[in-house]
Symmetry: C2
Subunit: 334 residues, 2 copies
């Protein structure tokens, strides 16, 4: 995208450098970044889908863990994942950067390259944003804008529905756990944290090929996000622990309980958890797996009640502190 | 707006408390805050207008200056002002809050009350957002979403156009200057900083009643924002210093140069600077001033060239460092 003409000056040089590094084109844009606001021509039959997601140094990541390209990529993917969770296609993102005054342009360029890599991978572009000072920590707030004819919320699951999961879970949490222990993560765990895929194409395809009743992306972890669907749908999610697909690094853990803890409580996998009418996904499961090269696994059923409940024929146990797990708990990623 | 059903837990109690304090209804919302994303039904004949604006503790404000209600109000008004700058009507905002772990719920409620007060005043509502930890400083990033049939950018001014300004300028800068000197600001200056009006109704009315060619809101100051129109329009803005209306506290300054410095370089007034075809505003000026109870003043003309140039029959001088003024310069509000 060619930025609009902005006046000279160091602030605008930095903005120009960031936009140039992002190097994307968003479709249907009437007025590109650089004016007071971005303007998008909107198709008449689609709703506007909007979500914002903040990624903060010292809370969600540490400088020692990630290169700035990865920070930009990861922040963007997390915001786009909220569009996937509604089965919406992205129309673009606004990126608000808060960086310390001493920040060098090369760091903004690296951030922009990561943002752009993620946007291109998900076939969307930069719409606008803000560049502001921060006293010390770097923060990135990404507002994702999407379009959908039939957005899918969390609140439609009911008794008898099946529960399915894309991909495998726990990879990102394994990386955070390794960093917390001052170890270098397994490369697959690092990749899961740094370069998650927002399951946008997958969600749209599933919405077109099955009768989805509820859909969420796993940002807070399988256990927490299952409870979100349960609360919004006023139903209980019964999930078979033995069926939950563990991310590759976890399958090698000596302790299955430790692996399950990461798989259930660890957030930021950005896989999709969905409910659908009984029998509506089995017929397309194989085609989905071929097309997207990830698994699609039935993990449970919806029943009357509330919350999430966990079963295991093999005697696997849910971590004791799972119910108390909360994304907002201080020191989570420390 | 009634938040969607979210699961129990301290994170969600905080989000619920914030949403309850905001207490607004955005029109046309299909899925309210609490799901993965907000969904708005969009009118077929309007474009989507989007802007984000970050407001950071220690950079844009200090805790000692403002109550949290004022922080919430001010952050929201600044974002809405970007919609005014496009002559767009607001459809709602997303608010990303970054707060330290020890933040009490009462502080989030106060912030929410300020956000809600501003949203109601501008007849719009909360669409969604994010609540994240920050290591220490509070940051609020507001993404404003608007709709417009004919958005007005910065780039259409040409030779012979007139330049007009709503209201008066320098009030917010007078407050920041007083705080910087450890003095209590004049109450009118404090109000200008704390409770600016996003000139949305004014901009839409002007767009309907005159042939506007360029429009911007004064967030960086008259001098800087005039240069933005000049850069985007590839023209020069010639502004008569003697015509620039000074905010009430400034008119009492003993030093006219000091007052002019604040009026030209001080940002965050959120008045509108606009260019229009010659003669197209004079006939409606009186009606505008009656209707909106603020001034509408012709301050200059557009000519060939670039940048901004300043004239004064009375010998008023532009502050020497004005060209170097930059919002991103470190320590600006210190």
């Amino acid at each position: 995208m060619k930025p609009g003409r902005m006046k000279p000056g160091p602030e605008f040089d930095r903005i120009r450098a960031f936009i140039a590094a992002v190097r994307t084109e968003a479709a249907s844009v009437e007025i590109p970044p650089g004016d007071d606001a971005a303007v998008i021509r909107w198709p008449s039959d689609e709703s506007v889908v909007l979500s914002s997601d903040a990624f903060v140094e010292g809370v969600h990541f540490k400088r020692a863990w990630l290169r700035w390209e990865a920070v930009g990529y990861r922040a963007t993917a997390a915001a786009l994942s909220d569009l996937a969770a509604m089965a919406a296609r992205p129309a673009g993102v606004l990126v608000s950067l808060m960086v310390p005054p001493e920040t060098e342009e090369s760091m903004l360029v690296a951030l922009g390259e990561g943002v752009g890599e993620c946007l291109r991978r998900h076939e969307t572009g930069l719409l606008g944003g803000d560049l502001a000072h921060s006293p010390s920590a770097v923060a990135i707030d990404v507002c994702a804008v999407g379009a959908s004819r039939r957005p899918i919320g969390r609140g439609g699951a009911s008794e008898g529905d099946e529960i399915w999961l894309t991909g495998a879970v726990g990879g990102a949490a394994a990386a955070v756990q390794a960093w917390g222990r001052s170890m270098e993560p397994d490369p697959r765990a690092r990749a899961a944290f740094e370069r998650p895929t927002a399951r946008i194409a997958e969600a749209i395809w599933l919405g077109e090929h099955a009768d989805l009743t509820a859909l969420i992306d796993l940002s807070d972890g399988l256990a927490g996000d299952a409870r979100q669907i349960a609360a919004a749908s006023e139903a209980r999610l019964r999930i078979d622990l033995d069926a939950v697909p563990l991310a590759p690094p976890l399958s090698e853990y000596a302790s299955r309980d430790a692996a399950l803890g990461l798989a259930l409580a660890g957030g930021e996998d950005y896989e999709l958890l969905l409910c659908c009418e009984e029998g509506s996904l089995e017929t397309v499961q194989a085609e989905f797996e071929r097309r997207f090269e990830i698994g699609l696994t039935k993990v449970g059923v919806v029943e009357e009640g509330e919350g999430a409940t966990w079963t295991s024929a093999s005697g696997a146990r849910v971590p004791a502190d799972l119910d108390g797990f909360d994304h907002f708990a201080p020191g989570r990623t420390e």
